[in-house]
């Protein structure tokens, strides 16, 4: 199960720290939504622009799909965050994070002359923080660390003969 790549100590520390920091960020994003009972992705979806906007709008338009989106966002973010921090099911958490954040990116692409609010009011052209986020997670995907520093080490090594 353990990846073949061997890391230097510095590489491992930096990779694990990145993983934990990204996990922290996701966990907080999820928790803050979880705490706020009235949080809904409704407005965010409706605010979507770009060529995929109709797709995101349609999620907001239907109460059932909206509640699914809300559920996935809140618990998805919490699970991804916990997974990354603890190094538990790290691969799954990383892949889910990539998918979710890429969806955020697609719903609010950093097009030129957009009039909507990008996350945390950043200024961006084509490349925004969400996109960078996705690539950071991709780095974590190809340089996995959960099986070295993290619960995956115990979980997956255990069943190995």
């Amino acid at each position: 199960m353990k990846s073949e790549i061997s890391y230097s100590k510095a590489q491992l520390v930096i990779l694990v720290s990145s993983r934990v920091l990204i996990g922290w960020y996701c966990l907080y994003e999820g928790m803050i939504k979880w705490i706020n009972p009235s949080w809904s992705a409704f407005a965010f979806l409706n605010d979507s622009q770009g060529w995929l906007a109709p797709f995101f709008h349609s999620f907001a338009a239907n109460p059932t799909s909206l509640s699914v989106v809300n559920f996935l966002n809140i618990y998805g973010l919490i699970a991804i965050g916990l997974g990354l921090i603890l190094g538990l099911f790290t691969r799954m958490a990383t892949v889910s994070g990539i998918v979710l954040i890429f969806l955020y990116f697609l719903s609010h692409p950093a097009l030129i002359n957009t009039s909507y609010m990008l996350p945390s009011g950043e200024s961006a052209m084509w490349v925004n923080k969400n996109l960078i986020f996705v690539f950071l997670l991709l780095i974590l995907l190809v340089y996995p660390t959960g099986d070295r520093i993290g619960l995956d080490r115990l979980l997956f090594n255990r069943f190995k003969n």
């Binding site: 353990k2 694990v16 934990v20 996990g23 922290w24 966990l27 907080y28 928790m31 705490i35 706020n36 009972p37 009235s38 409704f42 407005a43 965010f44 409706n46 605010d47 109709p54 709008h57 349609s58 338009a61 916990l82 921090i85 603890l86 190094g87 609010m117 070295r148 520093i149 993290g150 619960l151 080490r153 115990l154 090594n157 255990r158 190995k160 003969n161």
Partner: protein, 520 residues
Amino acid sequence: MEDKKNKKQAFSRRDLLKGFATLPVIGAFGYGMFREWNADRLRQNSIASELGLNFDEHPIAVPSKSDGKTLRIGIIGYGIRGEQLMRAAGFSRPELVDDWKRGAQRNVNDRRYGDYQEQEDLNIVITAVCDLFDVHAENALKAASNSNRSGVDGPMNQTAKRYRRYTDLINADDVDAVIIATPDHWHARMVVDAAKAGKHVYVEKGLTRTVEEVFDVRKAVKESGIVMQLGHQGRQTASYNKAKEIIDKDILGKISLIEVCTNRNDPNGAWVYDIHPNGSPETIDWSQFVEPTNPHPFSLERFFRWRCWWDYGTGLSGDLLTHEYDALNQVLHLGIPHSTVASGGVYFYKDGREVPDVFQAVMEYPDRDLTFLYSASLASERFRGKVIMGHDASMEMENTLTVTPDNRSTRYKDQLQAGVMSSDKPMITYIPGKSNVDAVTSATEQYFASRGLLYTYVQGKRVDTTHLHIREWLNCIRSGEQPSCNIDQAFEEAITAHMATIALRENRKVFWDAESEKIV
């Protein structure tokens, strides 16, 4: 290599250490999260619950008091507003319905078609229409026939008759109530005649053009006992009701100044409406149009842009101050001001108009210890909302409410010092459609709300306030109750507006003598 070594024993100490290495991070996170949650709770508690505010419930729509009887409605004046009112009542021209349908097909965010179809059926029928302009009258007939809310291909029910004089419409046997959406110079006569004929009235705002007419209307309405609703649909805005709750709980402290504004910056907003290509002395009954006012030769400009002349309209005061005033009167029960000064001029639209496009009025309420300030420009769209300024906090009152504590507040001194409140953060935000009052509403949510992405909901449904306003009027006709913008509110609205107009036109401070009910 390592694996082999560890195979036998379950986990080495090293495995455990490395496996759980990041666990303390969760501890730190949990600690931080708890602190933050606790601070928020403290803030919420000290504000929302301590102040006894509970916005948990959605505004509940009163059930329609349909007694099964279909009310027969006549519409007088089917111009810009007449068409909107008919839509709100459930009768739109088939061409418009098709337009909205196409709009919705092009853009899912275009909710006009869906909203219109979902609008409640008010159990009315349009039996009569009256308009002086043939094109508008015919449009009104088409709208009246479209009880199925369909497009041009749909089935129509010809129910309405066209009248060329409003008196004939009012006296028709098959008319129970009338909606009046004519220019302001006609309102009084029409309301008085309808009241005398015992017909209920929904009349557009700017109750009257002159001061004398206000008294005539009040007398006629009170004597006849009809149900009259003045067209300030803001009465139905959910956030205004919440604003009243906030005021009643004295959360703002002593209120000393209220500032309301109008800012527009396009010809349409400055009353330069399109002149219909088919408008002509043949299609417009001009002599009837000017009957209650000063005579003037036929003028398309005056007919379509009547708000620009004092002969027909009441200027910024009657047209737009009234909406703002009524919103505040609803929340604060201000009544008629003790005195008013006003100023302004035609500064941008020098198109021959008499009515200023920049206008300010300052109204004093000495018995309330407050000043009410209205400031308007039709040549700048800079947004300035309605703001109620109190010693302890101020409130911005739009579709959403924002209450921000004052840095020097006495009441919130402790919370301000403790950092639980801060004058650069709202302490209460109300966003209709959201279930609760939320002291920690994020900037994002406020941003979304301000962009109109969160709507006024009634039980989870987006609704048009004008529809609710007409609906309330019909409910009252059926139950005999008084609507929210009844003749007493209308009287206050009209006198207040006229005082500002007189102050402007006579360039003096005017007073309201409440004893003798006179503007002096």
